[in-house]
């Protein structure tokens, strides 16, 4: 039964102008409840089966060998010792690998999943330092690893571009993102900057990052004729199925991708060469294959976030109003992928200004293709933007919260669209009060406790609402009153399965335990990427569409003898395990009775979500106000984050428990970005130098304070459930909040991530 007992009308048929909000967005029952994760009992017992844990009869183990040059050709490749090693089943190199079609690349094709468009082991060419040059299959993991160590390769190296200086010196061009140029001009921002009485004009750097999901990339797979069965850990089951089908020249429905559990993704669990290599080797050997990359292998084969150099300039009047806002700079990518780090994104929506110039220039390097990592663009773009605002506030003698409020735009500052909902100022006010922001001394280095300098900082978080095309869902309702929702979506810890079970139960008028939310199978409807913080909206709109179909079918089945006779889908709502007329005195009939009278065990309906037109009509973004307290040792420069608060405005929150974890998780990854994370790239050789969790530092328990999170919970009328998505916003703004607190504590402004102690001494 729904909590307040009233019937829930069906969700809207479309999301364009004139559409009505989702009735669930204002409903307080299961939606909004703090439900513990439904997969919790499995996960705490270690009983959730991840990709490398699915048994297969006759399976062999794969090990990879990686190139040690950045560009050139393989001159010789001696595989004889490896071939002769105990247990070896196959050594696959470019000389015996099957011929493969090019892989459709992410963002270059609708369901493209590959990290780059390079040929995979098709010739002797080397494109990056760490590229796989051989796959060894053996009966055991130990045998495969040993045999791989016996391969001997020599190379004919060619000149490679592996330094920032050389790459940018060769010329840059404006980047584009999904077909749109990464740049715009409103007015003459340079002239306005020159004329402004107050200004900041500084350069900020962010390094390479790796996702470092704790689960290593892995797959267990087998061919059955032309059918490929793949147990994967992926953020895109449909994208992986489509891409592998293209590569191997089979039909999409012949590739069966299962990924019920994903041990962390953050953008890194896309499709990379190990998928193709393992499937090709399995085909060649005629045996099922398990591949699990080593931690070093993840750094060699799976792309990370690329480095940026950003100029951020603001010209302002004495009252703080911005006359000029300039955010430009350079990002690095390869010639073989399509993902320049779009660091200007936060500046497109956050502040009004008399003139605005935005531009992302792209330089190309011979390296492993970069990819998206949690909040691509916003995570590092907010570091520059929100640091600069803090610097300007200091110059103006204004509180940085007040400076932000004075530059709140009436409508989207670059698109001109009205905001769907925007309550950033409210988030700031409640957050500041809860945190005790009024305790901040605006004078740097003013507060000291023993050897510790204490400082407070603030910054804005933001991430856009996305709903990608391709959403679809199937609902199957059984006569016993149980509903099964199927959709090719993903659960990698976001709480999707739990939150969407709550939504489906509330929408269908069923108790939580009468709903199964099934996901993570490429055979299910929809192509719902776990990316862009869009799953909540995509699944929501797909289930709304499927429910409309289902209810139409049920009303037909109900017939003239039903209390619902004569009613259409928009006349009824779901409640108490059945449908009820919405008008006063409208009848009610249970799903069980409707199906029973029709003599059916179950009824099933499938539908596609309507096109995502909402973001074409409104500026839809989530926002947050972040507050941070740091303690910096005046002796060693050691930085400890002692308090953190995130006050968010993301529309409706569906599950307060899992949402709080999403926010905190993003913030903690942001603490890593602020203080320690950096993929060290040898500019002489193009090789990653710290490919391990011992040398690439992520926050550990002692680095993480209690993190307070709060939210406005104001529904967005143009988003399914009123929810705008929360997966990525947590990491945004954190780098600046920490940097601003470090400045307040020490008087030292660090514009170069990560903020390590050497930069404070």
């Amino acid at each position: 039964m729904t909590a307040d007992g009233s019937a829930v009308a069906l969700g809207p048929e479309n999301w364009g102008p004139g559409s009505t909000p989702d009735p669930l967005s204002g409903k307080h029952g299961l939606v909004g409840a703090q439900v513990s994760r439904l997969d919790g009992p499995l996960k705490v017992r270690g009983a959730a089966r991840f990709a490398a844990e699915v048994p297969m009869e006759g399976m062999v183990y794969a090990a990879l060998v990686y190139s040690t040059i950045a560009k050139g050709r393989i001159a010789t490749l001696d595989t004889s010792a490896a071939q002769d090693a105990p247990g070896v089943v196959l050594v696959m190199t470019h000389e015996n690998a099957p011929r493969l079609n090019p892989a459709p690349t992410f963002l270059a094709a609708a369901k493209g999943g590959a990290g780059d468009n390079l040929p995979v082991m098709q010739d002797d060419r080397i494109y990056w330092n760490g590229q796989p040059i051989a796959v060894v299959l053996a009966e055991t993991h130990e045998q495969a690893g040993h045999a791989a160590s016996l391969l001997r390769a020599t190379y004919a190296p060619e000149d490679a571009v592996t330094s920032w200086h050389e790459a940018t010196a060769r010329g840059t061009e404006q980047g584009s993102f999904a077909g749109s140029p990464l740049g715009l001009q409103i007015g003459d921002a340079e002239a306005a900057l020159a004329a402004a009485p107050y200004k900041i004009d500084a350069t900020y750097h962010s390094p390479r990052h790796n996702h470092n999901a704790i689960e290593l990339h892995a797959a267990t797979l087998a061919w059955d004729g032309d059918e490929l069965i793949l147990h994967d850990t992926t953020q895109g089951v449909q994208h992986t199925a489509f891409t592998l089908a293209e590569v191997f020249g089979v039909r999409e429905d012949q590739v069966h991708v299962s990924s019920p559990y994903v041990g962390g993704g953050f953008g890194g669990k896309g499709m990379w060469q190990h998928h193709i290599l393992a499937a090709a080797a399995a085909r060649l050997a005629g045996r099922p294959v398990r591949i699990m990359l080593s931690r070093e292998g993840v750094y060699r084969v799976i792309g990370g976030r690329s480095a940026t150099e950003q100029r951020l300039a603001i010209g302002a009047q004495a009252d703080g109003r911005f006359d000029a806002l300039i955010h430009t700079g350079t990002a690095i990518k390869t010639a073989h992928n399509f993902l320049p780090e779009p660091f200007i994104f936060p500046t497109m929506c956050l502040y009004g200004a008399g003139s605005i110039t935005l531009d992302v220039q792209v330089a190309e390097m011979d390296m492993l293709a970069n990819t998206f990592m949690r909040a691509p663009g916003e995570a590092v773009g907010t570091f520059a933007l929100e640091s600069a605002i803090d610097e300007l506030a200091g110059q103006l003698g204004l509180d940085p919260v007040e400076l932000r409020i004075r530059n709140e735009p009436e409508s989207d500052p670059t698109s001109g669209k009205p905001f769907s909902e925007r309550h950033l100022v409210e988030a700031y006010r409640t957050g500041a009060e809860w945190f005790g922001w009024d305790q901040r001394n605006p004078r740097p280095r003013a507060r000291r406790e023993g050897e510790w300098l204490v400082g407070l900082g603030t910054a804005t978080a933001t991430y856009p609402y996305h709903r990608m095309p391709g959403g679809a869902a199937r609902i199957t309702l059984s006569q016993n009153g149980h509903a099964r929702v199927e959709i090719a979506a993903h659960e990698m810890g976001m709480g999707t399965a739990t939150a969407q079970s709550q939504v489906a139960a509330e929408r269908l008028g069923l108790p939580l335990d009468q709903v199964t939310f099934a996901y993570g199978e490429s055979s299910f409807p929809g192509a719902v990427l776990a990316g862009g913080s869009q799953q909540t909206a995509s699944i929501g709109s797909s289930v709304i569409a499927a429910q409309r179909e289902l209810v139409g079918e049920l009303l037909k089945l109900a017939g003239d003898d039903s209390p619902l006779a004569g009613l259409g889908p928009d006349d009824v709502g779901a409640v108490d395990g059945g449908l009820a007329g919405l008008a006063d005195g409208g009848g009610w009939e249970s799903y069980t009775e409707i199906l029973g009278r029709a003599g059916l065990d179950e009824v099933s309906a499938e539908a596609s979500a309507p096109p995502p037109v909402e973001a074409e009509n409104w500026s839809m973004h989530s926002y947050g106000a972040l507050f941070c307290e740091v303690r910096v040792s005046a002796v060693t420069g050691e930085i400890r984050v002692s308090r953190f608060l995130g006050s968010f405005d993301c529309g409706r929150i569906i599950n307060g428990k899992t949402a709080a974890s999403q926010f905190r998780g993003g913030i903690i990854m942001g603490l890593g970005l602020a203080l320690m994370e950096e993929t060290l790239f040898d500019e002489r050789t193009g090789r990653v130098m710290n490919p391990s969790l011992a040398d690439y530092h992520v926050p550990v328990h002692l680095d993480v304070p209690e993190i307070d999170v709060m939210w406005t919970d104001i529904p967005d009328p143009h988003a399914p459930m009123g929810a705008r998505g929360i997966g990525e916003i947590g990491i945004t703004g954190v780098g600046a909040a920490v940097a601003n607190a470090v400045y307040n504590a020490t008087g030292t402004r660090v514009r170069d991530l990560p903020i390590t102690l050497d930069k404070l001494l």
């Binding site: 270690g46 089966r49 993991h141 931690r295 303690r631 899992t658 993003g666 969790l693």
Partner: protein, 174 residues
């Protein structure tokens, strides 16, 4: 020669190169113990050897002949979850669930170390008879178990709820 795994006597592997981690996952069909780095940096593979927490990726299975290993699969008794497992669910001490078995096994071993008075890097009085499992003691002692989803607050809450008397949390800076 046998190794006791969750109370069941098992033959050690023939190949002496097999790590205890791979022995559990690939030979015994006990994949609850997770591989996150295979080089002792992440803690996902933590199991209990005669009650003490060890990194099973840095242990060769044949070294544990005659020893008793408890994995995440062996923590529940008679089908009933260990109190710490229940607390992890209640306090949302995980997101993806991959580091979780290691966090839980590590916390069980860690609580025993505190009980025995084993000091840590943040213990002020190394000669103290008893050590209180404070917020900082707990976080320091669990810092060998990485979590990338960022469930740290929930993990600490779950361990505190299970093993520590309620105490005010001190400042995060040590």
């Amino acid at each position: 020669m046998t190794i006791s795994i969750n109370g069941s006597a098992e033959e050690p592997p023939d190949d002496p190169r097999v790590s205890l981690l791979d022995y559990l996952r690939e030979h015994l069909g006990l994949p609850g113990t997770k591989k996150g780095c295979d080089q002792g940096a992440c803690g996902a593979c933590t199991v209990l050897a005669d009650g003490e927490r060890i990194l099973s990726c840095l242990a060769l299975a044949v070294q544990y002949d005659g020893r008793s290993i408890t994995t995440i699969e062996g923590l529940a008794t008679n089908g009933s979850l260990h109190p710490l497992q229940r607390a992890f669910i209640e306090d949302d001490g995980f997101q993806c669930g991959y580091c979780t078995p290691g966090q839980i096994c590590s916390a069980v071993g860690m609580a025993d170390e505190v009980q025995r008075g084993v000091p840590s890097h943040v213990t002020a009085d190394l000669s103290a008879e008893t050590i209180e499992l404070s917020h900082d003691e707990l976080r320091e002692r669990m810092s060998g178990n990485l979590c990338r989803c960022g469930a740290h607050n929930g993990i600490v809450a779950a361990i505190t709820q299970t093993y520590a008397r309620p105490a005010p949390t001190e400042g995060a800076a040590r």
